[in-house]
């Protein structure tokens, strides 16, 4: 089973929920937790442990100047500005390249060859006997987040229970993460903004046909609007985590509330039961 954890925006405590849930699940079964928030992965902060890195590369064009006649076709074709033919140079901007391969196809002189270039890495560790953490890391300034996410997901493939921690928002990387998931856990906050973003994230899950449930985090006890929204959209509210200084303190120092605060392991065990119960 593949469980994606998403939220319409950052700072809802999505990773906190993912980390606590993974820790709980890893008590009774093998779990692979994949940090798909490749621009700002943070799950390793909850699970410090020695990791092995695998590079992620993307093909980028290399010009064979013995063949190129500076016709300019490649530069005109590239929608991303990763190639520009000015005077007698073909300038390449590899970090703008989306690796579509188009320039090599349109070059009438066969002067473009694709060469691999590192855009990030996937880092793999085993912080608990039954938990494997796979972290996708996109290098600074790179654009191909989905490529690194795909590589991270690929490495997890084949395991019976996989959790994907998506990046905040609803852009391409999130779609890439949710693709192929069996269940989507939406983490939200009980603020008007939280609801707005939940609406967006729930829309994505619905669009992709993935069953979803909601965790309300940092609840101030006034969740009527969120509850109302969830009822209208048939989204079960699986857990409500109150706003508390105690929880915030544990979380901010990279602690897990399931391990460090009494009562939470049971509640996360219940949550995992509900999620696994919808297994296809």
């Amino acid at each position: 089973m593949k469980i994606a954890i998403a939220s319409g925006k950052g700072g809802t405590g999505k990773s906190t929920v993912a980390a606590n849930l993974a820790w709980t699940l890893a008590h009774s079964r093998d779990v692979v937790l994949v940090d798909c928030d490749v621009e700002e992965p943070n799950l390793h902060l909850f699970f410090p442990s020695e990791a092995t890195d695998v590079p992620v590369t993307a093909p980028v064009p290399e010009i064979d100047y013995a063949r190129c006649n500076f016709c300019g076709e490649c530069g005109k074709f590239c929608r991303f500005g990763a190639l520009a033919v000015v005077k007698d140079t073909v300038l390449t901007f590899p970090y703008l390249c989306h690796s579509c391969g188009g320039c090599a196809l349109v070059c009438p002189r066969g002067a473009i060859r694709e060469v691999p270039r590192a855009i990030g890495r996937v880092s793999c560790s085993r912080p608990l006997p039954r938990l494997v953490l796979i972290t996708g890391i996109l290098n600074e300034g790179e654009v191909l987040a989905p490529k690194v996410i795909k590589a991270a997901k690929m490495l997890a493939e084949g395991h019976p229970l996989i959790m994907y921690d998506a990046s905040p928002g609803i852009a391409c990387p999130v779609i890439e993460t949710l693709e192929g998931s069996d269940y989507c856990l939406l983490v939200t906050e009980s603020t008007p903004f939280g609801l707005h973003d939940l609406r967006l994230a729930a829309g994505v899950a619905e669009e992709l046909g993935i069953p979803a449930g909601v965790v309300i985090n940092r609840s101030d006890g006034q969740d009527e609007n969120t509850v109302e929204f969830c009822r209208e959209h048939n989204l079960p509210i699986l857990m409500t985590i109150p706003f508390s200084r105690e929880i915030a303190t544990v979380t901010s120092r990279g602690g897990l509330i399931v391990r460090d605060l009494p009562g939470w392991e049971e509640r996360f065990a219940e949550l995992s039961g509900e999620i696994l119960g919808v297994s296809p």
Binding site: G81, V86, F93
Partner: protein, 113 residues
């Protein structure tokens, strides 16, 4: 010599646009004949990498001098590779005003590296 000035509208009376690659129009002026040609910028709504693409557009039209407000890093690299001379016009005048200031030697070059 062909000079390209970034503009908000076509024609030499149009106000100069400060952005380089996102300028609505590029006005090309041939300083020998005094003839001008205005091109609507196809990149105005493009997603990314507009700098290098704009430079290729200028290069294709034979321009060697560009007058604009400021240029981004990618555009600067492409302009430098293309051997362009780039000048800053920060006033609120027209394309013709910018060109006059350039001809009079009153514009500061924009460093490209």
């Amino acid at each position: 010599m062909i000079v390209c000035i970034t503009a908000r509208a076509p024609g030499t009376d149009a106000p100069v646009e400060q952005r380089f690659a996102r300028a609505p129009y590029f006005v090309f002026v041939d300083t020998e004949t005094g003839k001008s040609e205005s091109i609507e910028n196809p990149l105005i709504d493009a997603a990314g990498g507009v700098g290098p693409r704009a430079v290729q557009l200028l290069s294709d039209r034979g321009a060697t001098v560009a007058i604009t407000g400021h240029v981004g890093g990618n555009a600067a690299r492409a302009l430098a590779a293309g051997g362009f001379k780039v000048f800053a016009y920060q006033g609120s005048g027209s394309v013709a005003d910018a060109l006059a200031a350039y001809t009079a030697g009153n514009l500061q070059p924009i460093p490209l590296v």
